[in-house]
Symmetry: C2
Subunit: 360 residues, 2 copies
């Protein structure tokens, strides 16, 4: 079979040229006589990969000097606990609830017996939007948002301005547009959507926030531990970080995050236009002003599950996979992260238009 267009929500498609470079070097890394997977994390060979990955993140994402970039493990689910364990100061912590992942983050703060305040929620309307008003208290220990909601296909167009430190779960839109760092204090993401394979977590945290952590927090769960050791306190997921470094280099070749953001906007427009021009055959889940550029979630009119399945199967036969919507809302979802090509998106749009014409 030739290469498919993978619209899966994550782990997700990667640039073919990145996979080919990894393949070429997999057994013998650049003539060193061993795989990068076999190299000690204290070796010069790995050190170069590690530091290049960190350097490129700082360069491409324009991370300010007063932030550290960390490579951790355990994904966003682990951050749901680490954020309160590190940032809570015994006061109130505040969350905006915009979907499943926000809800899970809130649950973990409650498990830790914190005083949790949900300042805004779009739950009642099926998480179809980012609430228009989100008022975080100035004196909260932190304010927490999920920048992109993978399941529902909603995304913040701008971050709220807060006095409290703003924590952003950017798992499904990291590196897809430039960040206004004047608003952000801690941004984290699992790598498996826009930055590499699963098993690497990227945390970008303001240095001053690292000192809040209390003495009874285990070493591995303290951001400070990892910042002080350049993310080499323990053995990092070396191969995943290598893949991430290749993705960063690819992003640079593509013209950087500003250029990638423009392409992302074009890709999303192709699919949303297809939905909007389908005379009601396709129905987008998100309200228009909250639409995600990363995950396009939609139904077929009357939520016709049989037709939806038929389209998912037809797409798979045509080499387009991963389009089944999340079980919580059904329908279809096209995840169009950085590495999804405009050709892939056009192929899907064509298929959708043909299908609508036949079935409408």
């Amino acid at each position: 079979m030739s290469r498919v267009y993978n619209f899966g929500a994550g782990p997700a498609t990667m640039p073919l040229e990145v996979l080919e470079e990894a393949q070429k070097n997999l057994v013998d890394f650049k003539g060193h006589g061993l795989s990068i997977m076999e190299a000690s994390h204290r070796s010069k060979m790995y050190d170069e990969v590690h530091n290049e990955a960190l350097f490129l993140i700082k360069e491409l994402y324009k991370v300010p000097q007063d932030f550290d970039v960390l490579f951790l493990q355990g994904g966003a689910s682990t951050q749901f606990a680490m954020v309160p364990m590190n940032l809570s100061q015994g006061g109130r912590v505040e969350y905006a609830d915009t979907g499943s992942w926000s809800s899970k983050a809130i649950k973990e703060a409650k498990i830790l017996n914190l005083d949790v305040n949900i300042v805004a929620s779009s739950k009642e309307s099926g998480y179809d939007k980012i609430p228009s008003t989100i008022d975080f208290s100035d004196d909260a220990d932190y304010a927490y948002i999920t920048s992109n909601n993978t399941i529902y296909g909603t995304q913040y167009k701008t971050f709220p301005t807060t006095k409290a430190p703003l924590v952003i779960d950017a798992s499904s839109d990291i590196f897809s547009y430039p960040i206004d760092w004047s608003k952000a204090d801690l941004l984290f993401a699992g790598a498996q959507k826009n930055a590499g394979p699963s098993g690497v977590t990227i945390v970008i945290i303001k240095k001053e926030l690292q000192d809040r952590v209390k003495e009874n927090i285990p070493s591995m769960f303290r951001y400070k531990t990892h910042a002080e050791k350049n993310s080499l306190y323990n053995t990092p997921p070396t191969f995943g970080i290598y893949m991430l470094s290749l993705i960063m280099k690819w992003m640079k070749r593509e013209g950087g995050i500003e250029e990638i953001a423009k392409i992302n906007a074009k890709k999303a427009a192709i699919l949303y236009d297809t939905i909007d021009n389908s005379q009601g055959f396709f129905v987008g889940h998100a309200q228009k002003d909250s639409r995600s550029l990363m995950n396009v979630s939609f139904n077929i009119k009357d939520k016709d599950a049989a037709l939806e399945s038929e389209l998912v199967e037809l797409a798979a036969k045509n080499g387009m996979i991963g389009l089944k919507g999340h079980r919580s809302i059904g329908g279809l979802r096209a995840s169009i992260y950085n590495a999804m090509s405009i050709e892939g998106v056009k192929a899907l749009a064509d298929l959708m238009q043909d299908f609508a014409a036949k079935k409408a």
Copy 2:
């Protein structure tokens, strides 16, 4: 450069045939049109890999029915915290201190304000042995040992018999010999020495122990969370688990863990004989009855650092890398995990003998 013999302590050498199979499938996994790295962790394609890895661990390691095998992240360093967070019942927890990793585990239990009792230690003699007497209390919340001490090259020949649940950090000797499961209750290891790349943690835990965990422990840090979801509660490190599955298949082709244990004993004997027959030129760090079959730590007589460096460099010129001892004890260390061939060990022994003959 042709393939080196990698004696590094971890991440460590892997079987060449495993790397070659991974390379072949890296861009297009078995004709599916995408890499295993790009596959959803909820896809059939990944599910087969995941379940095969779990199945093969249970089969090869003869894991009893009343245990679960879990794939986690964060390495042994995270387990140092998770063990007390899950198993402590407010009583005393007991540790045997046989090296740096035991000490770090003890430190984390103390950070959590537990009543920690160190029942035995070989610290005073430079961690050169496993203490001959280790008496864990029957009523301890758990008893904790490090089965192999990577830095000092010591290893338990048999596990202590305990009434309290026995926790074993087997990071550097998992899958290298058959386990007497009647003695063990929780065994964990980072994959990066004997089981795959870094970024995957294997936890093998008795089911009944999972119910001890208290309500204020975050979901990701509870063994039960992962056991209930077949290690798919969150996105697992899919590529690492794929590599682990290939290592397991390789172990099966080698004749299983019983056969591998025999080869490991032969490999270690070659190096220890070289040390013992060097008329004092080489001095093993570990006392003879505590010698590790995985890590052979030794000095040159009078701890001659210049000669030691010379030998490390000579070895590197001859394609044998990773031999520098840990900074805490200096000298040399040959890590000879499952995937190190007997040919590699013989090549090193020959080099050592030649060097001793020239320099003695």
